[in-house]
């Protein structure tokens, strides 16, 4: 992750928060704690710096593309009984993988004919805990219709809803650092990867490593969806650009040969 001068306040704020949470009177004492990874401080530090603002059905043109084009395309190359695997990484507090699940159930006419496996992963273990809880506020649900909220959520109080148990239990949530090949490899191969709005926070080297790792995690012909302001073409030549009616996505070439 790279934070330039413009993000100084953001960085200062989070370091101060961690110093306060650990009772460190000076930066030097906090830094010593961080370097020694006392009481898992490195993980807490990473958690403080990850950005987790999201909501259901964000950038839904890619979800439309998923059910209009990508899944139909992928099932053509599947053997009978082979599941379709979709990876949401990073998944933050779960809005994206749960959105993918709801969208598919609501919009893909072939949904009942296939096994669909959705995995959500994030480097931030705190957000994964929140995703497992599956409790969301009004703001996260602002783009969902009352009918969908009624169908897939249970109201806890006037301000909070919990995603239904069957949906919570159907999505696997795991920890991953996209730059570490040993961690990404352990997740296996996917048909579609949603990797939105994270590569922009990486430096050039990490971005390239992450792109190569994600390439490895795709089935031949599998698709990767980035955030709408991101371009894989500027990061890596590995992927083909695919222009669909609803979105531009990237694909791992079908053939064994690399071009």
């Amino acid at each position: 992750m790279v934070f330039n001068e413009g993000k100084r306040y953001f960085v200062d704020r989070r370091v101060i928060d961690r110093m306060s949470a650990t009772g460190s009177a000076t930066f030097a004492s906090y830094f010593a704690r961080l370097r020694g990874d006392l009481q898992n401080e490195v993980e807490q530090f990473i958690n403080a710096f990850t950005i987790n603002e999201t909501y259901f059905y964000r950038e839904d043109q890619q979800l439309r593309c998923l059910t209009s084009d990508l899944l139909d395309e992928r099932v053509r190359s599947k053997k009978r009984g082979q599941p379709i695997r979709i990876w949401s990484a990073p998944c933050s507090t779960g809005e994206e993988p749960f959105s993918i699940a709801i969208w598919i159930l609501e919009n893909w006419r072939q949904a009942d004919a296939h096994d669909i496996e959705i995995v959500g992963s994030d480097i931030d273990t705190k957000v994964l805990e929140a995703a497992r809880e599956g409790i969301f506020g009004k703001r996260a649900l602002m783009r969902l219709t009352p009918v969908l909220i009624e169908k897939y959520f249970v109201a806890i109080d006037p301000e909070r809803w919990r995603i239904v148990q069957s949906l919570r239990e159907s999505i696997l949530l795991t920890s991953v650092n996209l730059v570490e090949a040993s961690q990404t490899r352990a997740h296996g191969k996917f048909d579609v990867i949603f990797c939105r709005n994270v590569l922009i926070y990486f430096d050039d080297a990490s971005r390239r490593m992450a792109a190569e790792n994600l390439y490895e995690n795709l089935e031949p012909g599998g698709y990767i969806c980035l955030g709408h302001t991101e371009s894989m073409s500027r990061i890596s030549p590995l992927f083909e650009v695919c222009r669909f009616a609803d979105a531009i996505v990237y694909r791992k070439p079908l053939s064994d040969g690399h071009g």
Binding site: P83, L105, L167, R185, H187, K189, M209, E212, E216
Partner: protein, 207 residues
């Protein structure tokens, strides 16, 4: 519900099977790509990646080799990349430059040599690598270059980098450079702009 959750039996991510050297040097593009990533997992893989880089024609496999050498990030892995800065193949040249940018610490010991290379194109690319070096080091090396560089295009590249990372100590060398190329209006203009940027505001200089 068609959604399934599986904690095991994931379709495996291919690792290079068998001898990774053989796969890297004579496998299919996919096998070579996978082997390059596997070999890059240890520093000992640098010589093999260097050998393969000289032979590899596939842009995507090359990219994996460059990324591998950059992630190994030793003086030796940087050394393996340097010859490709003088390649006639623009993709290979750019790949080498990008890989060296990814490993600024490992590239540092080679920079003075590159800035003094007999090939002006290499000197020009070397200027670009200084963007990722500490400001004081970059400024010092660019000052030395500006004092002696015979090619105005290389001087222009140095001036461009100074605009981004330079310090005020470069101002005398910049003025001297402008004097050496009086018939190059672009260089004079660029130097004037950079000096304005590098010189501290008058109020601060007085205070």
């Amino acid at each position: 519900m068609p959604l399934v959750r599986s904690n095991s039996d994931k379709p495996g991510v291919d690792r290079a099977a068998g001898d990774p050297r053989a796969a890297l040097l004579s496998g299919s593009p996919e096998q070579r790509w996978t082997a390059a990533r596997r070999i890059a997992e240890t520093q000992a893989g640098a010589p093999l990646l260097a050998e393969a880089l000289g032979l590899e024609k596939d842009a995507r496999v090359r990219e994996a080799i460059f990324t591998g050498l950059a992630s190994i990030a030793t003086r030796e892995s940087a050394l393996a990349i340097l010859p490709h800065l003088r390649s006639d193949d623009a993709n290979l040249r750019t790949g080498a430059l990008d890989a060296l940018r990814m490993m600024p610490d490992a590239a540092r010991p080679h920079l003075k040599g590159l800035l003094g290379d007999s090939d002006a194109d290499v000197r020009l690319l070397a200027c670009d690598l200084l963007r990722d070096q500490p400001a004081a080091d970059a400024t010092e090396m660019l000052i030395a270059l500006l004092e002696t560089e015979s090619e105005p295009n290389v001087c222009a590249a140095a001036v461009d980098v100074l605009a981004e990372v330079g310090e005020a100590s470069a101002v005398p060398a910049l003025l001297h450079c402008a004097d050496r190329f009086p018939s190059d209006p672009f260089l004079s203009f660029a130097i004037k702009q950079v000096i304005e940027r590098l010189r501290p505001p008058a109020s601060l200089a007085r205070g």
